[in-house]
Structure formats: structure tokens, C-alpha cells
Amino acid sequence: MDMNVVVCVKQIPDPTAPQALDPATGTLVRDGKLILDDSDAYGVEMGLQLAEQSGGGEVTLVSMAPNAETSGLRTALAMGAAKAILVSDPLLAGSDALSTAKVLAKAIARANPDLVIAATESTDGYTGTTPVQVAELLGMPSVTFAKKVTVQGPAVHVERQTEAGFDEVECPLPAVVTVTAGVVEPRYPSFKGIMAAKSKPVDQLSIADLGLTAGEVGAGGARQQVVDVSAADERKAGEVVVDEGDAHERVVAFLEQLKIV
């Protein structure tokens, strides 16, 4: 069976660069160049492997990003995804997770997927709720926190992380699955892949194209507000000793003082 997989990929400011919130809106400043969220590289790889194993399927990327940003999408296209749907609209600034999910769900529905893959949480927002919100809006079942994913006939089999270890879960397709880091090892784009990515189709849509209005999404639809941002409480550094072969004695004394030993 050909399997068409949609992978949600978020394009984010480089997390290793200093990050800031816009003081006026309390939302993340996203005007610089964006990159593919590392967390989503696992989803892209998983999607590519499942599509390849199915024989003839392909991976469609779905992303919502400001300023028609495509650099993160190009990375995922270079890995091997066939095409992308990008929703970009000035009205989307300030979207909360639910608004994002509404947009993604509409865009995903256009691709008519057998399987939707997202990451358990994004690096910059890490709400971790967007994918299940998407599943609910699409009327699909979902399996979160996958550490192993296989497709067997019309169902996806997932080893789902739990507090105690993992559950083996079976879920009929179409379904939404969120993957953890380490589910598969993402490939590096090859030179050929990078060249090919330049001409792969990226379908750009506005919220009007999706039949959504400004009241439903973006800052207009947000019903939560950041009222303050401040530095987290700093802990003070204590004593520092350089090991000269006897530092362990200092550790034992410290533990004794706390009555741990």
C-alpha cells in the first residue's frame, strides 16, 4: 500500500542564538532566519522510512511560519520529503497552540494523509499539545510519545513511552503519532538532496485560503496573554574545590553534614 505521510515541521529561531520576547506582545521574536526544529528532524526521518517501506508513498511537509519562511522546509525537503504546504499570513502572529492546531489541521486535511507525524514537543514553544489538538480537530486517533513506530497493514504499531517503561499500542490509520528524539537517527541531507530540494514544490497558503478568519486564529483568536517576563531565580554558587586526589573526602563530609551518611 502506498502510504502518504504528513510530517508537521516547525521552523524556529536558532535555539543556540540568544532569544527574546517582544515586550509589547509577549510572544517570541521570530523575525530572523528560521531553521528546522531539531525535534522535527526525527519525524521527517520516520516519515521517510515509513513511506519508503510502504513501496510508493511520499512525505508532505506541513508548516505554519511567519514571513513565508522556507529555510527549515528546504532542510526537510533535502532529506527527501516530496513537497510542502506552508501557511504564512501576517494575521497568524501571536497564535496560541490551539490556533496553530486549527491552521495545521486545515492544511493537513488538504493532503489527505494516511499518517500524520509531529514531535512530542517543539524546542521553542514546548507546549506539547498542538499535535493532539490537531488529531481532535481532524477526528483522528492519536498515539503520543512514540519511541518506535512500524506500520502493519492498515494500522500503526507504536512503542509509547510511559512512566513505568513503555506500552505497545495499535492504532488504525489514519492517525496522528508524535515521536520522541531517538525514535530513528535523522539522515544528513546529501548534496544531491540539497540541489533537488530547491525545485520541490512549496504550496503557500494564507488563512483565507484555508477558510479561516482573523478572529479564529493569531493574536485575534488568542485568549491568553503574557503579562510579565522576568529572569528565573538564581541559585547562588557555593564552595568550589579542585580535586587534588582528596576531593571525595570533601563530598563525604558534605553528605555527613546533611546526615545522608
Binding site: 490551539l98 481532535e136 486517533p141 506500552d167 499500542v169 528524539a181 485568549r223 496573554q225 503574557v226 517576563v229
Partner: protein, 323 residues
């Protein structure tokens, strides 16, 4: 409109509410006059006594959901209850695998937003202000809802202290899961538990964690041995979980567990903000790292600049010699 009624999503494990739920019920009792809880699976009847003890008056019992994953059926039962007119002002959800699924689905069903990664809550007049770590916990944002209630907050473990108030067992009321089509089709075929000896990571009085500085999966054996000698639990940085040295259940940090032991011993861990956010609430922190500029030292009460392969074996020997 003040805060009158708070609900707590009372996830259970091994037939009893998990510790985060008791923290949330305690907090809820300080926020509002009426505290009610929602249970499912085996947590219901048996949980009513404990939940009542911590302050819940009513337990809405979804009952047996069979092999289904809780996200779809529990959120649907909750949505039905709310749509029938039983509306809390606030819903507190523990930040667990299932808690996040339930909160996300409920949010989409009710068309209400959800605020996640909450580490503190404060009622001020008619508002609830939540605090949550951003940028890996380096900064704290204060947020509030501006729209319709219930306001759904997903709260991290260890954000509040649990305290029993000696309340009577909660009254149990059964609630139904409405008919669900495809959304409720995921089935658990089997459950696998990892072996664990000693205390649980998030309950242990001593946590000994290892990072990439241990050099290899074998190096982690020193961390396990030290943890055992101190009757503690072994933890890990994400770097070595992703590298496959230890299972995910060991991970401390933003995407792992929050721990607040009496002593946290970090061995070969650099101290990235995403790690610090999960352990800097520890009462005492000891760090061993060969780089004197490692950020972990900025939060350590006792920092040892040294090689884990030299310090740990001697520490283990010294502790063994005492016992």
C-alpha cells in the same frame, strides 16, 4: 466573577492518585471553595478517600476505559460534563503523558486554549496568574487567560507541596463516555515495566545523575553504584538518554522529570538550562566536572573540579568503607 470551583484531573498509577495530583488538589483547595476531581480506570473508588483527604469533595468517575488510551475517552467525558452545565472555573492537569493528551483534546473539543508548563499559580481577584519557565527555564513568564472558562492549566510535577487536610472521602459520581468514533481507536496491546530497585527518581531523597562526561554507557555503572550506596535513585542528562546509554525514564530536565531531592549529585553534566530547570529546586547540589567553567557550578553548593573517573571510584570506596 471569582474563582469558585477548581477541578483536578486525578491520574492514578497502581490504583492510587499520583503524587502530582495530590499536589494539585492541595493547591486547588487554597484557590477555591469547591474542589472536585476526575478519575478513570482503576483510580476511582479507591482514590476517593485519598482525594477527599487532600481536599476534594466530589470525584467524577469515568470508570473503566478498557485498553483505550485515556486521551480521547476521558476528554470526551469531561467535555460532556462541562457542556451539560457543570462548569469549573479552572481545570488543573498534571503534566504527564496522558495528562497532556487529555488537556489537548479537551481544549480542541471545547474550543478553549490551554496553558502548559505551569510551575506556579496565583489567584488575584477574578484572575488566575500562572508562571511558567521559558527558554529552557532561564526566564519565567507570567500568563493569564482572557477568555471564557474553564481555564485549563497543565502543571509540572513538584510545583506545589502536597498536604493532607483530613477531609472526608469524596463523593463518587459516575460520568459517561459519549459514543466516540475513530478518535478512540488506539488500543494498548501490552504494557512493559522497566525494572527498578530503590526509590523512584522523583521521590528519592538523593539523586545521582550522570552525563556525557562519564564517557560511555559503562561509566554509568559508577553513578548507579553511588546512588545505591546512598539509597538514592540514578538520573541522567538528555545527552546520554539520546545516546541510548540509559532509558528515558532516567532523564532529568525540561523534557524529563523534575526532581527536588535533599541532595542532587551531578557527575559529568555541563548544566544546560534545560537540565537545570529539572533539578535546581534540589535542596543541595553537588557537581563533579572537569571544566571549572561548566555552568553546573553556578548552581552547586559544593563543586568539585575533577575527573569523574578519579573522584567517583574514591568516593564509592570511601562510602563502602563506612558501611
Amino acid at each position: 466573577m471569582s474563582i469558585e470551583k477548581v477541578w483536578v484531573l486525578a491520574e492514578a498509577a497502581d490504583g492510587a492518585p499520583i503524587s502530582t495530583v495530590l499536589e494539585l488538589v492541595t493547591k486547588a483547595a487554597s484557590m477555591a471553595a469547591t474542589v472536585e476531581a476526575i478519575t478513570w480506570g482503576a483510580g476511582g473508588q479507591s482514590g476517593a478517600a485519598v482525594l477527599g483527604d487532600y481536599g476534594a469533595k466530589v470525584v467524577y468517575e469515568v470508570g473503566d476505559i478498557g485498553d483505550a488510551l485515556p486521551g480521547a475517552p476521558v476528554s470526551a467525558a469531561l467535555a460532556a460534563l462541562i457542556e451539560s452545565g457543570n462548569r469549573p472555573d479552572v481545570l488543573l492537569v498534571p503534566a504527564t503523558y496522558d495528562g497532556r493528551d487529555i488537556a489537548g483534546r479537551l481544549s480542541a473539543r471545547l474550543d478553549l486554549p490551554v496553558i502548559t508548563n505551569v510551575v506556579d499559580l496565583e489567584v488575584s481577584g477574578d484572575e488566575v496568574r500562572s508562571k511558567h519557565g521559558i527558554f529552557g527555564g532561564a526566564q519565567i513568564a507570567t500568563a493569564r487567560f482572557t477568555g471564557e472558562r474553564p481555564w485549563i492549566f497543565v502543571v509540572r510535577a513538584k510545583s506545589f507541596a502536597a498536604q493532607s487536610s483530613g477531609g472526608a472521602p469524596a463523593e463518587v459520581q459516575a460520568v459517561q463516555v459519549p459514543a466516540l468514533g475513530a478518535t478512540n481507536a488506539a488500543r494498548v496491546l501490552s504494557r512493559h515495566a522497566e525494572e527498578r530497585t530503590g526509590p523512584k527518581l522523583d521521590e528519592a531523597d538523593v539523586v545521582v545523575s550522570g552525563g556525557r562526561g562519564l564517557g560511555s554507557a559503562e561509566g554509568y555503572a559508577m553513578v548507579e553504584e553511588l546512588a545505591k550506596l546512598l539509597n538514592g535513585a540514578p538520573g541522567a542528562s538528555r545527552a546520554i538518554v539520546d545516546a541510548g546509554w540509559v532509558p528515558y525514564s532516567h532523564q532529568v530536565g525540561q523534557t524529563g522529570k523534575t526532581v527536588k531531592p535533599t541532595v542532587y549529585i551531578a557527575c559529568g553534566i555541563s548544566g544546560a538550562t534545560q537540565h537545570l530547570v529539572g533539578m535546581k529546586g534540589s535542596k543541595n547540589i553537588i557537581a563533579i566536572n572537569k571544566d571549572q567553567d561548566a555552568p553546573i557550578f553556578s548552581v552547586a553548593d559544593l563543586g568539585v573540579v575533577g575527573d569523574v573517573h578519579k573522584v567517583l571510584p574514591k568516593l564509592i570506596e570511601a562510602l563502602k568503607a563506612r558501611s
